[in-house]
């Protein structure tokens, strides 16, 4: 419980987490929570770029699906609206004592199918996701199964209907945050073991229930769930509408055909800002865009002076300001500013070609060298313009004698190519899964395999190598800090460890840190009490319409 250094309780999480984003949003969020049911009802039309490929949270890694499933399903733990901090959901209290997690579950909660929520529902949900021995195991479960639960849970048991005991394979501090992820939401046991097609139906406990899935017109209609355990939603109905083109979506918002839209780019931001019916709202995202050096493949990249030289040579400020048009901020470390562990003492590498040239000469590469820069073709949130970014990098590095060839690929091809380590360097990026620094520091920069003594990189074909680390960087000092942070359950101590880890990552420069993209939404004038959530959400039950 709180106060005990070896344990993490709900209270300590609420106290400590999410410090960066609390101030701006807490007031409205709390007001929204307290004022539940006080809105004027109505239909909230939410416009987005893609339709849901499924309604089953265990059958996808797509955030687009999560936007809908998060309205109908709830996890044991949730994220506070607009924050990275954890909050109660279907569990009202929890403790983490080493590798043992105990959760007290909320009583008097019913699923949309009318069945009561108990510990058995979580156990069935968990087993469907990852347990091959379970009769109702879901064969097509997404990669999130092992990634979030399967790799960490040793066993799950219940103590009565409303107490869950989870034993982990090791002490793993981010686990509670994994429980708050959209894929870990609780599905009705009756639905799992009954004849329900969860790709097309949602049987959760959330504030909205599915009314209509209209694949022919890319629409999903949700209505307020009458027996919801919490405050009733402020709107009666939510309609998810799909408009693939940003311009069409923005136009629909301006024409008052939608109330909220996401996926705005600089051009469509202008459209919305120029209207008198809607406005643009932004919030710090929890993501990073970067360029990773493949040290397994390019010898020059194994020299930190070369990596630092390239970091000095690339004008990331210009990329963020001119290419990303102000919807991102310059990055300087692997952990985004909204998360604990982000160090305020670091700053981006300045654009300094002279310093770059000097470092290259010192490293014996004064005459330059050449490499191929692999990038995906289509814009992604953390990199709204991959090809212009690559072009700028090529032009910047040309000034210091480095010859860059751009290799652009369709995204799934890019993923295969980089996962096989065939890139020299690659543009990449990451959206947080669980708003934990480990999700950046361990997942993206730890090799997760044996490292040869005295070497700070590994060969790509090392057994068990973590291919999400596209750099093959394996700095022992950094790894020690990140591993210790995984098994440290006191958040302030974890923050200190991550502060030191990101200092190393900044100085060693395995990445060129490019940007942290903002979350941008277009919001109609009639909408109030809407909070942008970079993790969890969108919390549409809190939204009020005029």
């Amino acid at each position: 419980m709180a106060g005990n250094d070896s344990q993490v309780s709900r209270r300590s999480f609420l106290k400590a987490a999410g410090t960066a984003t609390v101030a701006a949003t807490a007031t409205s969020s709390v007001a929204g929570c307290l004022g539940g049911g006080g809105g004027g009802g109505g239909t909230l039309r939410y416009g987005r770029g893609s339709h849901s490929s499924t309604l089953d949270p265990q059958n996808t890694t797509s955030g687009e699906v999560a936007k809908v499933t998060n309205q109908a399903y709830e996890g044991l733990i949730g994220f506070q609206p607009g924050e990275a901090a954890l909050t109660e959901a279907l569990a009202t209290d929890w403790t983490m004592d080493g590798s043992n997690v105990t959760l007290q579950l909320r009583e008097d909660v019913t699923f949309h199918d009318g069945s009561d929520f108990t510990a058995d529902d979580f156990i069935a949900t968990y087993r469907r996701f990852v347990d091959d021995d379970y009769e109702y195991h879901f064969e097509d479960a997404s990669a999130y199964g092992p990634f979030t639960l399967g790799n960490w849970i040793d066993s799950v048991s219940k103590d009565g209907d409303y107490t869950l005991n989870i034993t982990l394979t090791q002490t793993y501090a981010p686990f509670l945050r994994n429980l708050a992820m959209f894929c870990a939401v609780v599905i009705s046991q009756d639905a799992i073991e009954g004849d329900v097609n969860l790709d097309e139906e949602m049987v959760g406990t959330g504030p909205f229930e599915l009314s209509e899935l209209d694949d022919a017109n890319n629409r999903i209609q949700l209505t307020a769930y009458d027996d919801y355990w919490g405050d009733a939603p402020n709107v009666n109905e939510v309609l998810f509408l799909t408009r693939g083109q940003n311009s069409t979506r923005a136009q629909a918002l301006v024409e008052e055909e939608m109330e909220i839209i996401d996926g705005l780019d600089p051009d469509t931001i202008e459209t919305v800002e120029g209207s008198d019916t809607a406005s643009v709202e932004t919030e710090q995202g929890i993501n990073i865009g970067y360029m990773g050096f493949n040290m397994s493949r390019v010898e020059a990249f194994r020299d930190r002076r070369v990596r630092r030289a390239i970091s000095y040579a690339i004008d990331t400020q210009s990329i963020v300001e001119n290419i990303y048009s102000g919807i991102a901020t310059q990055a300087d470390q692997p952990i985004p500013p909204a998360l604990f562990g982000h160090s305020d003492d670091l700053s981006p590498y300045p654009h300094d070609p002279e310093q770059a040239q000097s470092l290259l000469e010192e490293a014996g590469y004064g005459d330059g060298f050449s490499f191929e820069l692999t990038t995906f073709q289509n814009p992604r949130g953390y990199n709204p313009a991959p090809l212009p970014t690559a072009e700028t990098i090529r032009s910047n590095l040309d000034e210091v004698g480095i010859d860059v060839t751009i290799d652009d690929r369709q995204f799934s091809d890019y993923l295969t190519y980089t996962a096989e380590g065939r890139h020299d360097a690659a543009l990449a990026g990451w959206y947080t899964d669980n708003a934990d620094p480990d999700n950046f520091c361990y997942v993206l920069l730890h090799p997760q395999c044996e490292v040869p003594q005295g070497q700070d990189w590994v060969s790509w074909d090392t057994e068990g190598y973590n291919t999400s680390n596209i750099t093959a960087w394996a700095n022992q000092d950094y790894m020690n800090h990140v591993e210790e942070a995984q098994t440290t359950t006191t958040q302030s101590e974890r923050a200190d460890l991550y502060n030191e880890a990101v200092q190393i990552a900044h100085d060693e420069a395995p990445w060129v840190y490019i940007d942290y993209a903002e979350e941008v939404r277009g919001v109609g004038n009639g909408v109030s009490n809407y909070t942008i959530s970079a993790i969890g959400g969108p919390h549409l039950d809190l939204v009020e319409l005029e």
């Binding site: 039309r45 490929s53 990669a143 990634f147 790709d199 017109n217 369709q410 799934s412």
Partner: protein, 337 residues
């Protein structure tokens, strides 16, 4: 009268055509870069997980085995399940949902083209070298030259943004939910007896129909004009006039039927272009037919959906051309021989 043998022969020809199309699509998909297993597993998946997905999908089997399995499935009309677009849903069900949307659009576009193209072509031919003829020809030339990806957004800007009288995109207003009986939104709204929904659907379809129809109209009117000019000069037309038959009756009764054959050819050949146009039109107007389905499936390496959609396009194209040949035979029985 069209003989059954003629139709059966043409239907049998479908088999080698579809076999060829299936082979080419399979080859292109499997030779192009991109791994559906990676696309399905996502960025978070471990290599072991991706490998498992690959094995489950049979993508590790030799290519010839995958090919034979694919042909076997196609022969039994089993197109498998969608990898990505609608995960786990049978592709045949997705196509059944989406196909009527594209057919409705293509047929209405074609009808609009015929409705305006035929009279304009006839008028242009009858009034050859007059101001009416010149204006019609300029209009037709413009219609052929303007690509859909340009005319579409332009019409959206004019009618949706500036004038605000038509919606920007979609097939029906967000407030209307209609059960799909036929899949044709205009028909379904009428069957439901929901006139406001019908009006909404009609307003949504108007611009896409116009965009598709402009090109068809331009092409049909040009072809009709040249064909009609040729027919007008024929002896039997002069004879009809000499017998005292009025100009209008001569043109419509004797001229139109004979001038129609080349136009029918164009309609058949252009049906492929119309489907191609539907891909663009659906994209511009955010209509969820098989055009947008194909684009999304290619982007997401959803092999079963791409394969089935291309085959459906091929079947539709071939059947329409069969229909054209049958129409020839009706218009001119000598053709069948």
């Amino acid at each position: 009268m069209v003989s059954k043998r003629f139709v059966a022969k043409r239907l049998l020809l479908l088999v080698p055509v579809l076999f060829g199309v299936a082979t080419v699509v399979f080859a292109i998909l499997h030779l192009s870069p991109g791994d559906p297993a990676v696309a399905i597993a996502g960025q978070r998946a471990s290599q072991a997980f991706v490998e498992q997905v690959r094995t489950d999908l049979g993508l590790n089997d030799p290519l010839w085995q995958q090919y034979l399995r694919f042909l076997g499935d196609v022969a039994t009309f089993d197109f498998g399940q969608s990898y990505q677009i609608q995960r786990g849903t049978p592709v045949s069900q997705i196509l059944a949902d989406r196909l009527p949307i594209t057919i409705e659009l293509a047929v209405l576009g074609q009808l609009a083209g015929l409705l305006f193209g035929l009279p304009l072509g006839i008028l242009s031919a009858v009034k050859q070298d007059t101001l009416t003829d010149h204006l019609t020809r300029i209009g037709a030339l413009s219609g052929i030259s303007i690509p859909i990806y340009w005319s579409g957004p332009l019409l959206i800007l004019l009618f949706a943004q500036f004038l605000g009288i038509l919606p920007t995109s979609g097939r029906i207003g967000s407030a209307h939910f209609i059960d799909a009986v036929t899949g044709f939104i205009l028909v379904d709204t009428l069957l439901a007896g929901d006139l406001p929904a019908f009006r909404s659907a009609f307003r949504h379809l108007l611009l896409p129909i116009v965009v598709l129809g402009i090109y068809q109209m331009a092409l049909i009117s040009r072809m009709m004009r040249s064909s009609m000019i040729e027919v007008i000069r024929q002896d039997y037309m002069r004879t009809a006039r000499a017998k005292g038959q009025g100009e209008k009756i001569t043109t419509m009764k004797h001229g139109l039927r004979n001038a129609f054959i080349p136009v029918i050819t164009i309609i058949g050949i252009q049906f492929g272009a119309l489907l191609g146009g539907a891909v663009l039109t659906e994209t511009v107007f955010e209509i969820n037919g098989i055009g947008t389905l194909l684009v999304s499936a290619i982007n997401q390496s959803d092999y079963p959906v791409v394969q089935a959609t291309v085959l459906v396009f091929a079947v539709m194209y071939t059947l329409v051309n069969l229909l054209v040949d049958v129409t020839y035979s009706v218009l001119d029985p000598r053709i069948e021989q």
